[in-house]
Symmetry: C2
Subunit: 357 residues, 2 copies
């Protein structure tokens, strides 16, 4: 019986006797073999489905630690900047323990599902006329001067919690994969996974380390370009970040693991996004598909050996961003009269064009 | 390591040697204790969070069985009518195994998240100008005459799969609860839970049976009123059903268990929906909150003893229906300039009114 990551990975986390063991049963997410795509790409591909977490993204792993520590330290309010997933997670765990949550989101650039979450959980949501990077600067400075606990990933407890996803991958496979492919936005998650793999390696749980492959969106590829991007743009709003907070840690993960940080275009992201849903029955948010898009791109470029075991991290649930899904597919359901004949006609017509979408 | 319900509950399911053991790692969903609400209501309350399933609802439990059996029987296409959750689930599992999926939904009465799922997974979505009950009549008649496997809950494999949720409740608690509270729409789920409890009781896994408490939405309360409702209306679209297919089974579950089938108003549903998110950090879809709304109503009416152990089933993920959430809370995020002073001003103003929402 799963009791959440504070309980399950207690020995690997910065927990004291005074840390409240809270949980919404985050973690223990599916690792699903991509039966169709493994065959099509001639690799051994798995998806780590982080959208199955309580608020629908990997952020819950780090947030449960950050919030538990905030409670332990006597905090009464938390604050963060967010492209949406962090705010949903902060709001949920703050609600669970009765803390006040203040979240800053970039006005007009947050998926509707994420906004609905933060609002429902009772967070105080402020939409700032700026982007994520600017919002992060503000909450950083405010948290230094005022009694609000910062729960962005520069809060070290966040990465501590997030590293448990690497533990789970190893626990399931019995070993690290050859390649861990992951979307890169603020660059905290790739850093956290690397920390997890290194700790398991040092503890003797795994015998080898994976290559870390991070993929930024082309319009927000600060690390790939080697400089911050003042106005990042991408359909993958969750990684629409131009100045990653964990930049150095991410580059270290890439170097130490002999991996790569590359970028994928919005078109490649949306293609991978659709292919994932149709081939495997997994609906992830657009940013999540950056990992699969990167794997496909590298395989096509001959940078990935046949048969390689690859785990692609799907960071968030597709339900976070239904509008992008409907636009990406560009198919409106056909509206027809409510009688069997009309339905049968539509079925045989659609049958003719099936697969053409 | 969880492998999905076909594998885990194999001995309790109608599986043969020829049944393909498919999975998106459905089942094994959180049972979360309601810490705050248990105290406020003076009962021992748990939530069975079915929104954590792969497509975000309890439907995945039954669908994985129905689709596996369809494959076993050589079917190449499945068809269903749906208020949204069934279509999402059917589309995902059909995609996973390469079957064609045809889904009928009531035009204009399906939550945006659910529509985005069915479309993304590649189902052929037909929006009929009618309600769920009419759409169900059509797919029933079509499946009798044509080679499409019907995967609505009148397909017996569906309820077989859904009963596993009752197994999980008992496996976690070590015994059945005093009361199992559950939303009632098409009435398949209350019937499936009862089947699960009875089977576990007969197998000696549990020593006593729970009371089954089902709650319909007031505007779609056919069973409570004792007659079909031609034009059901409720904000809880997932249970907007006026002529439940499993009506008789549901009444039997209620009678045999000494339980009740009652109704809750849209206002009670929306209040429970908000309270759940704010008190416990759990975001479920509106229809799910019918179970909590019913528990609150019964407790207030003195129909539920202090200290009673109650499991309320939350059938679907709140992200399925972000629009209702934003409307229910009726708070638009405040848009402010991107500078620390403006943010601090907003925080202190909001802080003054915090809790007033």
């Amino acid at each position: 019986m799963w009791k959440g990551i504070l309980e399950h990975y207690r020995d690997h986390l910065p927990i004291t006797e005074r840390t409240p063991i809270i949980s919404l049963q985050e973690g223990n997410t599916p690792l699903i073999r991509a039966e169709t795509l493994s065959q099509e790409l001639d690799i051994d591909l798995y998806f780590k489905v982080e959208g199955a977490n309580p608020t629908g993204s990997f952020k819950d792993r780090g947030m449960v630690v950050a919030i538990a520590k905030a409670v332990e330290e006597g905090s009464t309010a938390v604050i963060c900047a967010s492209t949406g997933n962090t705010s949903a997670s902060a709001a949920a765990y703050a609600a669970r323990v009765g803390l006040r949550a203040i979240v800053l989101v970039p006005d007009g650039h947050i998926a509707v599902g994420k906004l609905s979450q933060a609002v429902m959980y009772g967070a105080e949501v402020l939409a700032v006329k700026g982007n994520f990077d600017q919002a992060l600067d503000i909450v950083r400075s405010i948290s230094e001067e005022h009694p609000f606990t910062l729960v962005n990933s520069i809060n070290p407890y966040r990465l501590e919690g997030q590293k448990t996803a690497a533990f789970e991958v190893c626990d399931r496979l019995g070993e690290a994969p050859d390649v861990l492919a992951i979307p890169v936005g603020n660059a905290g998650n790739i850093s956290a996974y690397w920390k997890g793999f290194v700790e398991y390696h040092e503890a003797g749980v795994i015998r080898r380390l994976p290559q870390m492959w991070g993929f930024e969106a082309e319009g927000a590829a600060a690390i790939v370009r080697g400089e911050p991007i003042p106005n990042p743009e991408t359909v993958a709003t969750a990684i629409r970040i131009g100045n990653p907070a964990s930049w150095k840690l991410a580059v270290r993960a890439q170097r130490e693991s002999g991996g790569r940080i590359d970028s994928v275009s919005d078109e490649e992201i949306l293609q991978a996004y659709r292919r994932l849903a149709r081939a495997e029955g997994i609906f992830a948010e657009p940013a999540s598909a950056a990992s699969l898009a990167g794997v496909i791109k590298m395989r096509e470029k001959g940078q990935l050996a046949p048969g390689a075991r690859v785990v692609a991290v799907l960071t968030g649930n597709g339900l976070k961003d239904p509008s992008t899904a409907l636009e990406a597919v560009a198919v409106k359901p056909r509206v027809i009269p409510c009688d069997p004949e009309a339905v049968l006609r539509a079925i045989s017509e659609r049958g003719m064009s099936h697969g053409a979408l």
